[in-house]
Symmetry: C2
Subunit: 376 residues, 2 copies
């Protein structure tokens, strides 16, 4: 893949056998949705799930496109925000999908960010034990991460994403024009996941980002390139380990700490959004790896410097407001689903692009590390 | 498989690749559960879901067996009956499983009939996107049908089993001693599904049942044989078509009519239980096939005669109480999940052991057929 590609559109194919699908990346995808769907799916009905922020911007264009291509569609706009990933909203979505008589070859369409994608995908995975699913991610985070790979879910009082299914989409339409309406903060949050792919196993991509971050934020070819590389990276991992029994866990780099911090702020997006939690979490993962003599402190500093340069938070103390005691953070980590037989599993690293799964991290080490880091 | 086998125990292996599992059939399985589970699963925690009828009979024995083999278990007894297959109860079960910190290699155990198996299996399929699942079916219906094959689900106001996932168990323990506490009516209801396997594609098995039904009802070797043949038959179909894209639909013989009748009685088990609906539904499927000149009226009479001989209902008029208008029955059929592109899909037959999928049945024919049959 050439980093300097000037193509205004990209296709990433996710080769998952009978669950294979395409990711189309470029401007104007929402207006082409009807045609892209009818050329791939047999059903001619659709139930669109979106949120109250996205609906005024793109719902009409999507409905028009579907109608033009003969797809009968209904829609439901839910409140925006992480709290929408609840069992109550899942129930509402399923009821709407069943009322619309969506059958197995018809589609549930998620139009929105990661919250809408996770919720609508869960509904698509359980209605009639699985109907077709189309992702139209409108945030950078959703375009490079959550819309690809089939993880769906909702939150419970026990933690984030603790209920869900693996349900691959049949098509992902990443309309890069939609990113122009994102706030700077939302775009940055998505960028944390872009940088993550470099940090996991693509040191050249991370170096490219260090040089081209400004252009990626500005838009244009570099942005499309960064999204395509990210989708390809995610696809590669998912194809190797669809149901996360091994290598796929690498995608959780920064997420174990990140989820604990999100839980600690009660998923209050005014204080911390997912990508910001991941940004701080990745820096913590590098710092913890350095403390365990696995990685060089220079790498930890390099990672922090780049994330900071684009305006992302990198320290626990960057989170506004009070946080609960460290022992509660640790409890959130232990309840995280990446726990096996009681031992803490972390994604640690030996350097930039050298992440690995460590499944025997002593909780006492994590405890004292967090105690130290929360005050710096 | 020898029909005259005297073995007091049988093993049916379901060869589904990485989702392969064993079905153990025989008396005393509940008391051996701990050993059978620890020899197959890595986790040492379990969450048992059962109902208030089954709990007093078998829960203590199961808990003892798990404890003896070092499995830490919690349990939850829900109200018995079809109404328990609801989103509310699913939520309760998931919360209990998460509170027990069940991890991916730990197990949810269903101890009970089809309702408990479907509900607990659904929870096992969505907690942490899938944890281990052990079925301990205590009804004949669950032993020969619902505990095998991975279909899980709950009912909604739109119909039966409209939300669910495919989630294969890791082990099925069919304790045939548990059947001794079933009422005659419950046993008969399960027997309808046993007969179904003969009617689908095993004419010799149906003939064997015609000769041996009395012994199957009495217990002993013939009962174990009938259960083993049924599990093997179901396994064969599931292995060929795990997610019901084709041949697996044959297992719905009698079920499209049956579900409509269940819906028409509002799942009131005092009027109609699932197996009874299937019994009437199978007779209707044979009669409708005869009406369409597909099967001989003699076959329809033979099927009805056998089901009637064991005491099963075979006519719509056997259902006590008022039924809604025929057009509502048809609506329930159309909302059934075996609908594709608006056409009615039925399992029809060319004779005993010759069922097939018909996916273009005109609803007008079904309407007039039902009008006629409900008054006979």
């Amino acid at each position: 893949m050439t980093m300097s590609s000037r193509a205004s559109e990209r296709l990433v194919h996710v080769p998952l056998g009978e669950r294979a699908y395409d990711i189309l990346i470029g401007p104007g995808m929402i207006g082409r949705a009807g045609g892209e769907i009818t050329s791939r799916l047999k059903g001619r009905r659709a139930a669109i799930v979106t949120d109250e922020n996205v609906a005024p911007l793109y719902l009409e264009a999507l409905m028009d496109s579907l109608q033009t291509d003969g797809i009968e569609a209904v829609s439901l706009a839910l409140p925006a925000g992480e709290k929408t990933k609840s069992l109550d909203h899942l129930s509402t979505v399923c009821d709407m999908v069943l009322s619309a008589r969506i059958e197995r070859n018809d589609a549930v369409i998620a139009l929105g960010g990661g919250v809408i994608g996770d919720l609508a995908g869960f509904a698509a995975g359980i209605v009639r034990r699985g109907v077709r699913f189309v992702q139209i991610p409108t945030s950078l985070l959703a375009q490079v991460d959550s819309s690809v790979g089939g993880k769906t879910g909702i939150n419970t009082r026990h933690g984030k994403n603790l209920l869900g299914v693996f349900h691959q989409p049949d098509l992902v339409l990443a309309d890069t024009a939609a990113l122009d309406t994102l706030s700077e903060r939302e775009f940055r949050a998505g960028y944390a996941e872009v940088a993550k792919y470099g940090l996991i196993d693509k040191p050249d991509f991370f170096a490219w980002l260090e040089k081209n971050a400004r252009e990626v934020f500005k838009g244009g070819a570099e942005r499309i390139e960064a999204i395509a590389v990210s989708c390809q990276a995610k696809s590669d991992v998912v194809v190797e380990d669809e149901r996360e029994t091994g290598r796929r866990a690498l995608l959780n780099l920064g997420h174990t700490f990140g989820h604990a911090l999100e839980a600690a702020t009660h998923y209050d997006s005014s204080r911390l959004v997912h990508g910001e939690g991941v940004s701080i979490g990745m820096v913590l993962a590098y710092q913890f790896s350095a403390r365990m003599n696995l990685a060089s402190p220079d790498d930890a500093r390099r990672v922090e410097a780049h994330l900071k340069s684009v305006g992302l938070p990198t320290r626990i103390s960057d989170i506004p407001g009070e946080l609960p005691p460290t022992v509660q953070l640790l409890d959130a980590i232990a309840q995280d689903k990446k726990v096996k037989g009681g031992k803490l599993t972390f994604i640690l690293t030996r350097g930039v692009g050298e992440a690995f799964v460590a499944d025997d991290v002593p909780s006492s080490e994590v405890m004292s590390f967090l105690e130290e880091k929360r005050s710096t």
